[in-house]
C-alpha cells in the first residue's frame, strides 16, 4: 500500500490577488424582523456551501511551507473526500486532516462531493495516531455536508468510524487546532473536529443535522430549511456564543471564496498563535483540559425532588384539571410511538 505518489501535486487555487487592507466589514445592520433574520442566516448557509470556498488543499496551498499528502486507511482503501498528511505551518511541523470537495464535476465524483466514507475517517485516525506517536500537533479543516449516508457506508461501519475518531481525539496527547471553514455537517464534521481550540471562519456554519433534514422531520417539508437553519442557530457567531467555537475569523471581501490568499493569511495567523500557545502546555494538562471542555458542553438543570410523578400534575386550577382530562383521554388511545410499524421507520435525525 502506498501513502504517496511522488510528483503528484496540486497548486492552491489562490483566487484573485489579495485585496489588502480590507478590514472585516462592520456587521450588516442588525436584522429587525424574523423574516430578515432568517434570510440573513440562510445567506450564510449559502456562503458556507459556496463551491469556490477554499478547503484544506487550497488553504494549505496558501499557508503551508511544505505539504506531504498521505493516503489510505490500511483496511479498505483511500477516500479522497478526506485529505490527510504532514505540513509545515508558520514553522510548526504538524499533521493535517480535512474534508475536500472537488473544483469540477470530475473531481467531485472522485472526492464524492466531500462526503467521506468510513475509510476516510479511518485514514484520518491513522494519521492522527501517527502524529500522536511522533509528537506532531494536529490541525484539522472541517467542511462537510455530512458523512456519506449510503449502504456501502453502513456496511463498512460509518457509525463505528465516527465514534472511534471522536473518541480518539478526546485522548490524543498532542495539541489539536480545529477550523470549521465551511459546512460543519454533524457527526461527519465532529469526527475530525474535537479540538483544544475550535476556530470558525465568519461564514461557516455548524449544525447537528442539515437544515433540509431538520425541516423535513420537524416541518415535514424541505421548503422550510431556512426556518430550520434559523431555529438551530447554526452560524459561527451563534456557536461562539454557545462556547462550541472559541474564535470567529473574519473573511475578506464578500466571503472567503473571493480571496483565498487573504483568507489563508488571516487563518494562518490565528492557527500559528494557537499552536504556539498549545505546544507550551504539558500533555497531561492538555488532555485533561480537552476532556473538561467537552465534558462541560450542553446545559442541563437539576431539581432536588426524587422520583418524578408527572402523570399526576398538581391540582392548581380549572385549566390544569381540563388538561388532565384531555391527557387521560389521550392516554386511553393507542400511543403510536410504542408500536411503530415495521415498514415505516420513524423519522430520524441523522448525525
Amino acid at each position: 500500500m502506498v501513502d504517496r505518489i511522488l510528483g503528484r501535486g496540486r497548486d492552491g487555487r489562490d483566487g484573485k490577488d489579495a485585496k489588502d487592507g480590507r478590514e472585516p466589514r462592520p456587521d450588516a445592520p442588525v436584522p429587525q424582523t424574523p423574516e430578515e433574520a432568517k434570510a440573513a442566516v440562510w445567506t450564510r448557509v449559502q456562503l458556507a456551501r459556496n463551491l469556490r470556498r477554499p478547503r484544506i488543499l487550497e488553504l494549505l496551498g496558501a499557508m503551508a511551507d511544505e505539504f506531504v499528502e498521505l493516503h489510505g486507511d490500511r483496511l479498505f482503501g483511500d477516500d479522497e473526500a478526506i485529505v490527510a498528511g504532514f505540513a509545515i505551518i508558520g514553522g510548526h511541523r504538524v499533521a493535517v486532516v480535512g474534508q475536500q470537495k472537488g473544483a469540477d464535476t470530475e473531481e467531485n465524483v472522485r472526492r464524492n462531493f466531500g462526503m467521506p466514507h468510513p475509510e476516510g475517517y479511518r485514514k484520518a485516525m491513522r494519521i492522527m495516531e501517527l502524529a500522536d506517536r511522533s509528537g506532531l500537533p494536529i490541525v484539522t479543516f472541517v467542511d462537510v455536508p455530512g458523512a456519506h449516508p449510503g449502504p456501502e457506508s453502513e456496511e463498512r461501519g460509518i457509525a463505528d468510524a465516527i465514534a472511534r475518531s471522536v473518541g480518539l481525539m478526546t485522548r490524543l496527547r498532542v495539541p489539536i487546532v480545529t477550523v470549521i471553514t465551511g459546512e460543519g455537517g454533524s457527526g461527519g464534521a465532529l469526527a475530525i473536529a474535537v479540538g483544544d481550540v475550535v476556530l470558525a471562519l465568519e461564514n461557516a456554519v455548524y449544525a447537528v443535522i442539515s437544515p433540509e433534514g431538520c425541516a423535513s422531520i420537524l416541518w415535514r417539508t424541505t421548503d422550510e430549511a431556512p426556518t430550520a437553519a434559523f431555529a438551530m442557530k447554526m452560524t459561527a457567531q451563534d456557536q461562539l456564543a454557545f462556547g462550541i467555537v472559541d474564535e470567529v475569523i473574519p473573511e475578506p471581501g464578500e466571503g472567503a471564496h473571493t480571496d483565498h490568499a487573504e483568507t489563508a493569511r488571516r487563518l494562518k495567523e490565528v492557527i500559528v498563535r494557537e499552536l504556539d500557545r498549545l505546544t507550551a502546555i504539558p500533555a497531561d494538562a492538555l488532555v485533561e483540559q480537552r476532556y473538561r471542555r467537552y465534558r462541560s458542553l450542553g446545559p442541563y438543570g437539576e431539581i432536588a425532588a426524587p422520583t418524578p410523578s408527572p402523570t399526576v400534575p398538581p391540582r392548581s386550577g380549572l385549566a390544569d384539571r381540563l388538561r388532565g382530562l384531555i391527557e387521560a383521554g389521550q392516554r386511553a388511545m393507542p400511543a403510536p410511538l410504542q408500536v411503530g410499524r415495521r415498514d415505516e421507520p420513524p423519522a430520524r435525525e441523522d448525525v
Binding site: I162, G187, W219, F242, G301, L318, P346, R348
Partner: protein, 283 residues
C-alpha cells in the same frame, strides 16, 4: 379562601386501560396481559415491541436491586427552539406521557447477582433523542462504573441527536466518547445492547463501541435515516438494510439476542468480563 371546585378530573385508574394491542408485524390482536407476560414480544411472530425504561430495567435486573442516580437532571432550552411547538412544551408533554424527566435513566443494579452500572433509554420520550441530559447521564454512568470498577451496560433506543438542542446535542458525542475512552483505558468492561431503534448520533457514539455489542432481533440500527440515504444518494437500498441482521452480517454486532434470553446472555458475558476485576477490587 379560594373557592373549591368539585373535582371532575377522572381518576386515571378508573379509565379502562386498552386491553388489546395489534402486532404491527403480523397483525395479530394480542391481549395486553399476555403481551406483558411474554416480555412485550409478540407470541406469534416474535416482534419485539419497544419498552419503556422502567419495564426494561425490570426485565434485566434482579428484583429491587436498582438504585437510580441523578434522577433530578432536566433538559434546558439553550436555543429557544420552536417548530410547531416550543421545545419546553415538547419536553413537558413527553414527561407526562412517560413519567420520566428525560429519556435516559441510570443507576446501579444487579444481573444474576453481579453488580453493574446500567443506563437505559426510553424511545417514548421524544424518540429517545440524545440531548445534554442524555449525554450527561451516559458520561456519569461511565464515570460511575469507573469509580466502582463495575461493568457498564447501556441499552439504547434512540432516533439520534436531539435537534432541538442543536450543536449542544452533537457535542454529546464527544462528551460520551471521552468518558467511554477513559473507562476503556482503565480496563472496565462495557456491554452495549441495541434495541429498536438505535440510529443517528447514538449509534455513532456510545451504542456502536461496546466491548461486546448485543442487539435484539430485527431492530432498526443505522447511521443515516433510510429515507435520507435513499433521497440524497438516489440508490436502491438492499433488503433488510439497517436491521440487526444486516449489521450482524457486516460484523458490527457480536450476538443477536431475543428478549427472553437477554438477561441470561448478559449475565453470562459479564461473568467472563467482570470477575477478575471484581475480585481485584475486593482484594
Amino acid at each position: 379562601m379560594p373557592m373549591k371546585f368539585p373535582s371532575f378530573r377522572p381518576q386515571r385508574e378508573a379509565f379502562p386501560e386498552k386491553m388489546w394491542t395489534r402486532c404491527p408485524s403480523c397483525e395479530e390482536q394480542l391481549f395486553n396481559k399476555q403481551l406483558e407476560r411474554s416480555m412485550n414480544v409478540c407470541p406469534s411472530c416474535g416482534h419485539h415491541f419497544r419498552l419503556p425504561a422502567p419495564v426494561r430495567l425490570g426485565q434485566l435486573l434482579d428484583e429491587s436491586t436498582f438504585e437510580e442516580r441523578d434522577a433530578g437532571l432536566i433538559s434546558e432550552d439553550p436555543l429557544g427552539f420552536v417548530d410547531s411547538k416550543t421545545y419546553p412544551d415538547r419536553l413537558a408533554a413527553a414527561q407526562v406521557a412517560t413519567g420520566l424527566r428525560d429519556d435516559a435513566v441510570w443507576g446501579y443494579g444487579r444481573v444474576e447477582g453481579q453488580r453493574i452500572a446500567i443506563l437505559v433509554m426510553d424511545f417514548g420520550f421524544m424518540g429517545g433523542s440524545m440531548g445534554a441530559v442524555t449525554g450527561e447521564k451516559v458520561a456519569r454512568a461511565a464515570e460511575g462504573a469507573l469509580a466502582e470498577r463495575v461493568p457498564l451496560v447501556i441499552v439504547s433506543a434512540s432516533g439520534g441527536a436531539r435537534m432541538q438542542e442543536g450543536t449542544m446535542a452533537l457535542m454529546q458525542l464527544a462528551k460520551t466518547m471521552g468518558a467511554l475512552e477513559r473507562l476503556r483505558a482503565a480496563g472496565v468492561p462495557y456491554v452495549s445492547v441495541m434495541s429498536d431503534p438505535t440510529t443517528g448520533g447514538v449509534f455513532a457514539s456510545y451504542a456502536v463501541v461496546g466491548d461486546v455489542n448485543l442487539a435484539e432481533p430485527n431492530a432498526l440500527i443505522g447511521f443515516a435515516g433510510a429515507r435520507v440515504g435513499a433521497g440524497t444518494i438516489g440508490q436502491e437500498l438492499p433488503p433488510g438494510f439497517q436491521r440487526t441482521e444486516f449489521l450482524f452480517r457486516h460484523g458490527f454486532i457480536d450476538r443477536i439476542v431475543t428478549r427472553q434470553n437477554l438477561r441470561k446472555e448478559l449475565a453470562q458475558i459479564l461473568r467472563f468480563l467482570a470477575p477478575a476485576r471484581q475480585e481485584a477490587a475486593r482484594g
